[in-house]
């Protein structure tokens, strides 16, 4: 029986490939695991909406394993980045996402890869769910030629298909995302754009300008505020006259939900996506979530909040633990199976870190390339007048 179980779970794991890619696998299993279960999820707070997302979510075993794997990969990847940063192999800005995994994974589960997504600088998790590999992400953090942006962007400037970064200027990504949504509507492909920002960015003027235009022009845009309670070192109460971020869209309908529960996030995202695709215009979601690390690697994260608070969230609301408990207590997976996933994830991260530390940096020839797209080669002035550098597209 045990051998059978291992074979089955290996087959399933093998086909549940990397990252956040959605894999449809037959629910047939010979083991006595529960193939799927229905869970009660917390009700969302609603703004200008008659009804909200359903109060129950169906989770299949395959989905559960996939969410678990992706969240665990994300968690381990961020912790490895922490390690590499402390060893000074990663430099500059590094904003880690651990604690918020349910947001990225839940959102991706509620949309398609053919939809679009844009976020701010706390972007490693989304780069993963949108199709980037751990190798490419880590090599970009260490500034190597194998990085997803060839080592030229760094932590805050990672891009992949239908993922527009990684944006360093707080709030700028919101009108950009609405612009992507405009293109979706213009091109008529029934795609939408998920546009993320934090509680700190939520007070930016350009966001309100965007709410106005997105609403006027009925753009298929899901605005999502990841409220992790602190904008850098400033708690929400000290930055916002109204901390009901889901209501700040005023004329835009809004939802507030538990961002630590991947099923809650998924159901709300599906609900929001349906709203957009039916031509009703934008919708706003506020995910209440938490980051374990400080704002960035140069912030220990304890001068403006207590260690007790961080510990309490870790023990009571950790997104990965929550999913794990649900699956184990409903016999949807075994402890060994999940441990095996952990081992595989650890290996993947180690391999990626190995690559990221040994891959060479981009060659100096690449310094001036990629200034213009689809253009003839040009000369770029170097540091002194005798230094004439070459740039190609």
């Amino acid at each position: 029986m045990q051998k059978m179980l291992t074979i089955i779970s290996n087959v399933l794991r093998g086909s549940a490939s990397r990252n956040g890619a959605r894999v449809v696998v037959s629910a047939r299993t010979y083991a006595d695991f529960t193939p799927q279960a229905t869970f009660d999820i917390k009700k969302c707070d609603l703004h200008k909406l008659e009804e909200g997302p359903p109060l129950q979510a169906v989770l299949t075993r395959e989905e559960g394993l996939q969410y678990y794997r992706t969240m665990q990969t994300m968690r381990r990847m961020e912790l490895k980045a922490d390690q590499l940063y402390k060893q000074k192999i990663i430099r500059g800005f590094c904003h880690l996402y651990d604690g918020q995994e349910a947001c990225a994974v839940g959102i991706e589960a509620g949309i398609n890869l053919s939809d679009h997504l844009i976020t701010a600088y706390r972007a490693h998790g989304y780069t993963l769910t949108r199709g980037g590999t751990v190798r490419e992400i880590m090599a970009e953090l260490t500034g190597r030629r194998g990085g997803i942006a060839k080592g030229k962007g760094g932590s805050m400037h990672m891009y992949t298909k239908h993922f527009y970064g990684g944006n360093g200027i707080v709030g700028a990504q919101v009108p950009l995302g609405a612009g992507v949504a405009l293109a979706c509507k213009y091109l008529g492909k029934n795609e939408l754009c998920v546009c993320l920002y934090g509680d700190g960015a939520a007070n930016q003027g350009q966001i309100f300008e965007t709410y106005n235009m997105a609403s006027l022009w009925k753009l298929p845009c899901i605005f999502i505020c990841e409220n992790n309670k602190y904008g850098m070192g400033t708690s929400v109460e000290r930055a916002a006259a109204s901390t009901d971020y889901y209501k700040r869209g005023d004329f835009i309908p809004g939802l507030r939900l538990d961002g630590m529960d991947v099923l809650c996030v998924r159901e709300a995202t599906k609900f929001a996506a349906e709203h957009c695709r039916s031509g009703k215009g934008p919708i706003l979601m506020e995910l209440q979530t938490y980051r374990y690390h400080g704002h960035s690697m140069s912030d220990p994260g304890v001068s403006y909040r207590t260690r007790e608070e961080i510990q309490e969230v870790r023990s009571k609301s950790d997104p990965i633990s929550m999913l794990k408990d649900r699956m184990l207590s409903n016999n949807m997976a075994s402890v060994e199976e999940l441990k095996e996933i952990d081992v595989e994830v650890r290996k993947e991260i180690e391999d990626a870190a190995q690559f990221a530390t040994t891959d060479p940096e981009p060659p100096l020839d690449d310094l001036c390339n990629h200034i213009f797209y689809n253009d003839h080669p040009m000369e770029v002035r170097g540091i002194n007048p005798w230094s004439k550098l070459k740039s190609v597209s």
């Binding site: 942006a149 891009y159 200027i169 009108p175 950009l176 612009g179 007048p385």
Partner: protein, 360 residues
Amino acid sequence: MAYLRSILRSGKNAVPAVLRREFHRTLPAAVQQVTVRDAIKEALDEELERDERVFLLGEEVALFEGAYKVTRGLWKKYGDKRIIDTPITEIGFTGIAVGAAMAGLRPVVEYMSFNFSMQSVDHIINSAAKTYYMSGGLQPVSIVFRGPNGAAPGVAAQHAQCFAAWYGHVPGLKVVSPWSAEDAKGLLKSAIRDDNPVVFLENEIMYSVPFEMSEESQSKDFLIPIGKAKIERKGNHVTLVSHSHVVSRCMDAAAVLAKDGIECEVINLRTIRPMDMEAIETSVMKTKHLITVEGGWPQFGVGGEILARIMEGPGFSYLNAPAVRVTGVDIPMPYAKHLEENTLPQIKDIVFSVKKTLNV
């Protein structure tokens, strides 16, 4: 009025003072008189027709037909989807336009004045100009930002700044500053077809000025390459380098100086970035004297850049006198007419500077 008259006089040939307002015919005929405004509109019309992904957005571009009537008739022809009126929210609509460009459309953003683009400058630079580089070549941004730049009569300090030097500073942007109708049409078409962010600096004073458009320039595929200057007038004694409405001044000054036997070579930069230094150097090697003439402020300006490059390049050893700049006065633009006139380079200022440089 005298200012306007002098601009009119300096069109390629003498032009009638009566300004025609009819919509330009699309059938190419012989040489025709076309205003800069109509040339811009033709370029927009032709590019909208040619590529479904091109669309315009900005304040008053649709129903109002453009604050300066540049987009007259376009909304009626192309409708709401392609010609979009925005609320007065520059940073928001610029961000939206850049996002649309990232997702594959080809927006043309109009600023009612480039002075208002200061609100959007973060998106022009951080979201548009730098993105192709930061993404290691993954994410191009095909977008044009256009509108009137620099001086306009009587609009005073907050509406008269020239942004050529500001945008010209930024790698990842192309910055174009047309003078004539032909410039405007050919360069705008090139800008829209260019897959990169282009800042297109028009000038309100030039909108109503008619120029001769050759038969070739009336074709729907007439393009002027970005990055190439044009010699508007050949001469042997001194090189005058200018852009935008100030080229008219240089042509006028050249006509005055010709009476004294001084032949100026007038170079119309056409593009600020990438700048055509080769054209300037070739001219300087011939004339041995250089004066840059611009409407913008002197410090860290277009002229400053040209002079620095001449110092660093082959042109320096040909100079018989120090190269100098003629610029706007280093003050915010005043309102009173007499003060305004004394803030921008006039014919007499250029003539004076040429004679000083030539030591005559």
